[in-house]
Structure formats: C-alpha cells, structure tokens
Amino acid sequence: MATVESMTSDVPFEITQRPDFALLTVQLEQGQKIYSEPSVMASMSPTILMKAGMKGGFKKTLGRMLGGESLIINTFTAQDGPGEVVFAPGTPGDLVHYHLDNNTLYMQRGAFLSYTDGVDLTGKWQGAKGFFSGEGLVLLKASGNGDIFFNSYGAILEIDVTNEYIVDTSYIVAFEDTLDYRVTILEGMKLGGKLKSFFFGGEGLVCKFSGQGKIWIQTRAVNPFLSWVYPFRPTKNN
C-alpha cells in the first residue's frame, strides 16, 4: 500500500510501511506541538522537547481513562528549532490520518495515536451501550479542528456507510458521529427469543451502524489472537 502524505493537514506528515508496520513521521516548525499516547514515540530530532502530563484538566483526564486510554498525554514541542517526531503504535498494523473540521470522530479504546492543536479528546461514557458490550465498545471522542491519527492491529479498511452496516465490536477502529450506532446481537443468532447460536456463533456482539458516514475497521483483532494463544498456556500443577 502506498505511503500517505499530507496535503491539507496543519502539520506536514508521512505515513510509511503500510499496512503491516505503519509509522507516522511529523515535521514540526519551531514552536509547533503534537500530542500523543504515551510510549509511542520511536525517535525524534534533538530540537524536540517531550513533556508528559495530564492534559486538559482532571475531568477530561478521567474521561480518557474511562475510554481505556492512559491518563497521561505526551506533548512534543519543537522548542529549539524545527524537527521531526516518528510515532510507532504498540501493535503491528495500519495508521490513518483524519482531519477534523468542527466535527466529531469516535475511536475504539487503544486506537488513538496522536493529534495536533485544536483537537479535543475526551472519553465517552457509553451508559447501557457500553456496559452491554463489556470490553467491546468503550469509545474516545475527538472533536474540534485539527488532525488526528489512529492505528489498528492489522490493516485498516474504510467503509462508506450509506444506509446500514454491521461490524463485530472487536474490529471497530473509528467512525464518524454522523452515524447512529447500536450494540446488538446478530439477527438470526436469536431463536425464539433465546440466544441459540450467539454462544456457538463466536461472532459475539456487533455494532449496527445506520445513517451516512465513514467507518474504519481493522482486519485483525487482539482478542481472537489471545483466544488462540490461551490453550498454549501452561496448566497449574495442583
């Protein structure tokens, strides 16, 4: 897959090594800033100053924590002149750039990588929606005006929803807030009101999107891989 370069963003950037080992390189002018999830900085110029902190006050920090992200947001500032920062996500996978233009984007926990000034990142308490899905759907909400970068495990595919679309909750990376969503059990997995094949079906919970907007899905998910590894764990002796 091709390298992605910026044309419209506030900060010149390049995404290389897609889709398996995607890396993000941003060029900062003196005084410019970029914010990121902790421990995703792979390398940077000596002109860049890194500062860890609870950005945006206590309430937003708590929100992010509920969203499954760290309390800490790292700030990179081109203090002593222009320079570059290279970000690499924790999982091997793909990376997508999205430009927020006074709209809102939701991201699955762990999908957020970095953002520029003007973006506001908070956790979103899902209420019944999130509770029902257990680990499946805890979202981060990005809004404002600026650039945001999110990552995946596996490749990322973009789906243009014009009516309705169903996505297994483990595979959701991000989606635009113009879409309505509902966490549900796949139709047909219920028989006579009972969860007949839900347990056997293995598809678990799905998110049903409706309306118009974009969804980004990942082609692999961490949980199925963990289920695969599980039988290889040693058993306790007693």
């Binding site: 897959m1 889709p19 398996d20 091997p92 996978g93 793909d94 596996g154 490749a155 595919l157 789906i159 009516n163 309705e164 679309y165 169903i166 996505v167 297994d168 595979y171 796949l186 139709e187 047909g188 997995m189 007949k196 094949s197 056997f200 079906g201 293995g202 598809e203 049903k208 409706s210 969804i215 899905i217 082609t219 692999r220 998910a221 199925p224 891989f225 289920s227 695969w228 590894v229 599980y230 039988p231 290889f232 764990r233 040693p234 058993t235 306790k236 002796n237």
Partner: protein, 227 residues
C-alpha cells in the same frame, strides 16, 4: 459471487459480494463486518447433512469445535468481510468437482456447493490429538477460501515430498501420504525439533504455510502465567 482479497500478505482480509439469495459458509468467528441485508444461521455441519447442535457441542468439548456460520444475502449487492485470527494470507481455490483436504484452522469459507466433511480422519486420530489438529475434507464445485499463518507457498508434488505437519495448509486428494519421522530415529527427529512429518506421494498440489502455528504457540505459552 465476486470476491476480493485485500491487504496481503500479513493482515489479509477477504471481501465477498453476495447478490440476493447467494450464500457463503464460514468459519465461526471469521466475520469482521457485513451489510445489514445478510442473515446468519449457525449449524454444526453443512446444511442438510447430519449433525445438529448436540453433536457439535460434543465435538467442541472434545476440542474439535466445528460450527459453521451460513451467511445469506436477503437483498441485492451485499458485502461481507472475513478474516482469520492469526497474521497471514488468504487464498482462493476454485474446486470443479474436486476434493481438497484442508487443515482445520486454515479453512476460512466456501461456496454452498462445497460439502464440508469434518469427520475425515485420514491421518489417524490419536496421532494428532496432541497437536490439536483436525482436517476438513472439502469436495464439490465452487470457490474455497483458505488462510495461513504467514505466507502460502504452493508445491507441485510429482513423486515424493516431505512436509512438517504444522506447515500443511491443504492438499489435493490425488496425493497419498504416510506419517513418519523426519530423521533416521524417532528420538533424533524430536530433538531436531522436526517432530512428525507427512510424506506425500503421487501427483497433486500441496499448499504450505511459511510459519507453524503450534511452534509459535509453544514459544509463547511457557512465557505466560499458568491458567
């Protein structure tokens, strides 16, 4: 039914377009996303065949879970995305009144025109119980989709060919085979880490994967806390 294989070769995903009335049988858990006009039905076997949930349940608890999800498009122009759980590739292999033996975890999806026989025990049951491997016999006409751990490479067997059992993705049933040891002595084979190999004979296609899932599992397992 049209299909597209995307994001090859490590994070490969299969996209299938289904028209109204068309259906696809898939490995349970492989569905990533789909249009809302597709319905799903779970069976423990190919529809019309014997089986039923209870028999399937029995198989599941004996470590041979084999539930199939049948996806059917109720509306025109529906799409479905399928992906395996491990990093690796996906291959399409059309069958024309032919039979392919597929390693259980490599079978991803197939046309309803292909009969899935999960009771095939050509290698002998006891032998593989430790490796938690099972095999699926796919016969009929239609498209068959298999996935691999790592890359897939094809071998045209003409005569004899030896493969480590963990590296087999699928093979044509025109091939005969014997299970044997890789080295001169059994102990030597195990010390050399090669374990059991499959010795193929005859003429036919063999599909291998670059990485061996049990080997990877055995590398990770001991580093984890006991369950």
């Amino acid at each position: 039914m049209r299909h597209e294989i995307m994001a090859r070769p490590a994070a490969t995903v299969l996209k299938v377009n289904l028209d109204q009335g068309e259906s696809l049988t898939c490995e349970v858990g492989a569905m990533i996303a789909m249009s809302s006009g597709i319905t799903v039905e779970t069976t423990s076997r190919q529809r019309g065949g014997s089986g039923g949930i209870m028999k399937g349940l029995k198989r599941m608890f004996s470590g041979e879970s084999f539930f199939l999800n049948h996806f059917t498009a109720q509306q025109p122009n529906q799409t479905i995305y399928l992906g395996p759980s491990l990093m690796g590739d996906v291959m399409s292999h059309p069958l024309d009144s032919a039979t392919l033996i597929v390693q259980g975890s490599s079978w991803l999806a197939s046309d309803p025109g292909i009969v899935i026989d999960t009771s095939w025990q050509g290698f002998g049951k006891a032998l593989f119980s430790g490796e938690s491997m099972f095999w699926v016999k796919c016969s009929g006409t239609g498209n068959l989709f298999v996935n691999s751990f790592g890359a897939i490479y094809e071998v045209d067997v003409n005569g004899h060919y030896t493969v480590d059992t963990g590296h087999i993705v699928a093979f044509e049933d025109s091939l005969t085979f014997k299970i044997g040891k890789a080295g001169q002595s059994l102990i030597g084979s195990f010390l050399g880490g090669e374990g059991l190999v499959c010795k193929f004979e005859g003429q036919g296609k063999l599909f291998c994967q670059s990485h061996n899932p049990p080997s990877f599992g055995k590398l990770l397992g001991p580093k984890l806390r006991p369950r």
